[in-house]
Amino acid sequence: MATVAPETTQAPLGLAVAGEQVTGRTPRQLFWARFKKDRAALLGLALIVLLVLLGALAPLISKLAGHGPNELFTREMTDEFGIPLGPNGEFIFGADKSGRDLFVRIMYGIRTSLIVGVVATLFAVFIGVVLGIAAGYFRGVVDTIISRTIDVILSMPILLFAIGIAAACSATATGCLNGLVKPGLSLVIFIIAIFTWPYIARIVRGSTLSLREKEFIEAARSVGAGNGRIMFREILPNLVAPIIVYTTVIIPNNILFEAALSFLGLGVPDRIPSLGRMLDDASAIFEDAWWFMFFPGLFLILITLAFNLLGDGLRDALDPRSDR
C-alpha cells in the first residue's frame, strides 16, 4: 500500500502547461486538482450532501408534510383489508402497512442509515487505527495478539454472529453487558463496529510496518520522541489517505449491514424508521404495494451508490499510483 508522504520531493504530478512557469503545489492542491476532474466522484459528493440535508432536515420535512414519522393514517391510507394505498397528492410516496407517510419515514430512514453508517464506521475506524498502528509499530507479541484476533473475527460468519448477538441482547429491556448495550440503535452500531474494525486495522498495520522503517521515523527517534509521539504524530498523518479511502468504502457497506439486520428483524425498533425494515415489511405485499418496496429501495441504492462513487474518486485522487 503506497501512501502520500508530505516529505516526498518527487516531481509534481500536476500537468505543467508549456510556457507557464512550473509552480510547486501542495499535496492538497494536487488532490483537489485531480478530484474535481472526476465527475462521478463529484456526483457522489453532491448526492451525499443532498442526502445529508434530507436526513438532517427530516423533522422539518415532516412538519411541512404535516405527517409525523409515526403518525398513523389507517383510515385514510389503508383500504378495508389493511392494504396500504399508493402515492397521491398528500402522500407522495404512498403509505406503509400501518398507513404512515412513506415519504416522511424514508427521510427519517435516510437519517437512520447515515447515523448508523457513519457512527459505526467512526467507531470501527478508531478501534482499527489504534490497534493497527500498535500492531505494526510494536510487532512481536502485540502484533501476534492483534493480528490473530483480526483473523478470528474475519473468519466468523458475520451475519450469523450478528443475529446471535442481536437476539441475545434484545431478549430483555435492559440489554446485555449490564445494560451497556441496549436493544435498538446503539446495539446495531455496536454490532457493526465490532465486525468492521479488523478491515481498517489490517490496512493500517501493513502501512505502519513499512513506515516505521523510514528515515523520518529514525530521525524522530534520534531526537528522543517517545512511542506515542511517533505512532500518532509521525506515522498517523501518513495514514490519513488510506484511512479516508477505506472509511468511505466501509460506510456504504455498513449502511447495507444495518439494512440487512433490520430486514432480518434484528435492527432498530419500528418507531425508528429504517430503510431495511421497510423493505422487509414490503416484501410480503410488494405485488400490491410496489411503492412500499420501490422508494425505500431507491434511496438505499442512492446512499450506497453515492458513498461508493465518492470513495472511488477519493482513492484515485489521493493515491494516483494505485490507478488502473
Partner: protein
Amino acid sequence: MLALSLLLAVTAAGCGGDDGGGGDEQAATDTGEDAGGEPQRGGTFRIQTDAFEWTGNFDPTGEYLGTALGFYSSLLVRNLMGYRHVGGPEGNELIPDLAEAEPEISEDGLTYTFKIKPGVKFAPPVDRDVTSKDVLYAFKRIGTPSLVAQYGFYYSVIEGMAEFTEKGGLSAKGTNEISGIETPDDQTITFKLTEPTGDFLFRLSMPAAGPIPEEVAKCFMKAGEYGRFLIATGPYMLEGSDNLDATSCKSMKPLPGFNPNQRLIMVRNPNYDEATDTKEARENFVDRWEMTLNTNAQDIFDRVKSGSVELAHASEPPEVIREYTQNEDLKKNYHSDPGDRTWYITMNLTQPPFDDIHVRKAANLIMDKEGLRRAWGGSVKGDIAQHIVPDTMFNDELEDYAPYATEGDAGDVDKAMEEMKQSKYDTDQDGMCDAPQCKGVLHVTRTTDVWKAMVPVIEESFRKIGIQVTTREFEDSYTVIQTVKRQAPVSSTPGWGKDYADASTFMVLFDSRSILAEGNVNYSLVGLTGEQAKEVGAAGTTSGIPSIDADIDECNKLQDDERLSCWQDLDQKLMEEIVPWVPYLDANADFVTSDAVTHYVYDQFAGEPGWAHIAMDPSAG
C-alpha cells in the same frame, strides 16, 4: 394440570392467526348450501397446509390441535356424545354418537349412565364391535402419565381418576382400575363424579374420550406413538389400516396414511355402517382425503386457484382475501365463519402502570381496535371484540355489551384521559400517564407479519395517554409471557379459542389455581395471592389482587340457561371490575377452496371445515 389447556390457546391461537378470517354476513351464510345442486359422492379431496403443528403426534389421547380435533370428530373417532359438524349454534350442540341416546343422569348430577349403540365397529384389522370396555380403556390411557393427555384435567372430576394416575395408570404394577367408571356389560358404561359438573357431556365429546382398542394400543405406551396406528371407528380410517398386521406388537409397522411431518391420508372405513349414524352428523361424500405439507403458502393459494388442491389450510395474506372477496368468480370459494376465539392484549396486574385499574380501563378506551383489525386483514377477519368470551358462545346475548366502545372503534382520547386522571400514575391529573413507570414499559409480541403490523397501532395508541411502550418481538413469545418471573407487563401475543361450547373453557384463564411458574396462561395473574407470588416468582404489586375463583366455582355447578347467564355475568364482572385484557378481535375461521368444491360446510365445534358434509366434483383432480 390446568396448564396444559394453554396448548389449545397456542394452537387455536396459531390457527386463528394463521387461518385469517372473513366474517361478513354474506360469507357466513354459505355455511349451509352452496350452488351446484345435489352434492355428489366421490372424489379425492386434497388439502395443503403450510405447517403441521400436531401437539401430540395425532394420538387422540394427547393431541390438542384444533385441526386434529376436527378430523377425529368428523371422520375418525366416534365419541359417546358428538356433534353435527355444521356451523352456527347448532354445530355447538351435542348429540348422541356412539351412545344410543342421551345418558341417564342421577338427580344429584353425579352419575351418568350411557348405553352404547350396537353395530359400531372398529376399522380393520380389529374388525369387532365397540364395547364399553373400549371407552373405559381410553380413560385409562388418559390417566396414564406416560401418554401425556394434554387436556386430562377435564376428567379429574371422575371419581378415582386421580388415584389411578398416582399409581401410574396403565403402567402400574398389579391391577389398577378407575373406581368411578363401571362397565357392567358390553353395552353399558357409568361415570361417577366427585362434584356436579355442568359441562361434563362436553368433556366426553373431546376425542381423547373416544373408544380405543386395547389389543392394538397396548403396544404403544409412549406419548404420541399410537398416532401412527390409530384404529378408526368413524366413516374413514388412516390409509393402510386394512393391511396392518396386528398379530403381535412387533409385526405392526406405522400406517402409511399418517406421517407427522408429511401427510395425513384417510380412506373409507369398510366397517362403518351408515345405519348407526345420522345424516345430520355425517354425510361422507368424499372418497379419499389427502392432507400434505407445502411450506410455500403462496404456492398453496396458487394451487387452489388453479384447481390442483381443493382447500388451503394456511393463513391468507390480505391480498388473497381482497381478491377472493372482491372478485365475483372467486367469492363463492371464500368461506368465513365465527371461530369462537378471542384475540386480546393482556395486561399484568402486578406490573406498573397496569397494576392500576384506571390505567387498564384507559387502555381499553384508547386502543385503536379497528387499526388492529386492519393489521389482520380487515373486517373479514372477524368482529371487534368488546368483552372476553366470543359472542357466538353466548348465543349473541352479550352482542350489545360494549363497556369501552368508542366511535369507529378508533379509541377515544377524551374518555381515556378522563379515566387516566383517576390513576396514581397521572401525578398532575391532566389525563396523561406521567410517572416514571409510564416510560419504557415492555410490550411483548410475536415476530410474524400480523403481529409486527399491530406494533405501531399499539404504540401510538398508548402514547396518546402518555404510556411509552418498548416493543420486543420474540419467536417464542408464548414462552416469554407464560413464564411468570419474566414479568411481562403487557403483551399482544395471545389469543384463546374454546375447547367446547362452554365459557368455562375461557374462564380457566382467570382462575388463580391455574397460575404456574412456567406454562402459565393466567397472564394477567388474576387472583394471585402474596404466598403464590413467592412460589411462582411474581414480583411487583402482589397484594390486593382481586379473585374470581369463587364465581367460577359457582357457575361450574350450574347447568343450561342458569349456567350461561352465570358466565355472562362473570364476563361483565371481569371487564368492569378486573379489566385484565383489551380484547380486540372475535376472530373468524376462514378457508379458501377450489372450484371443484361444490358444497362447503363449517364445523362450529372444531372451528374447521365440516369434513363430514363437504362435497366435491368427483371428476376433479
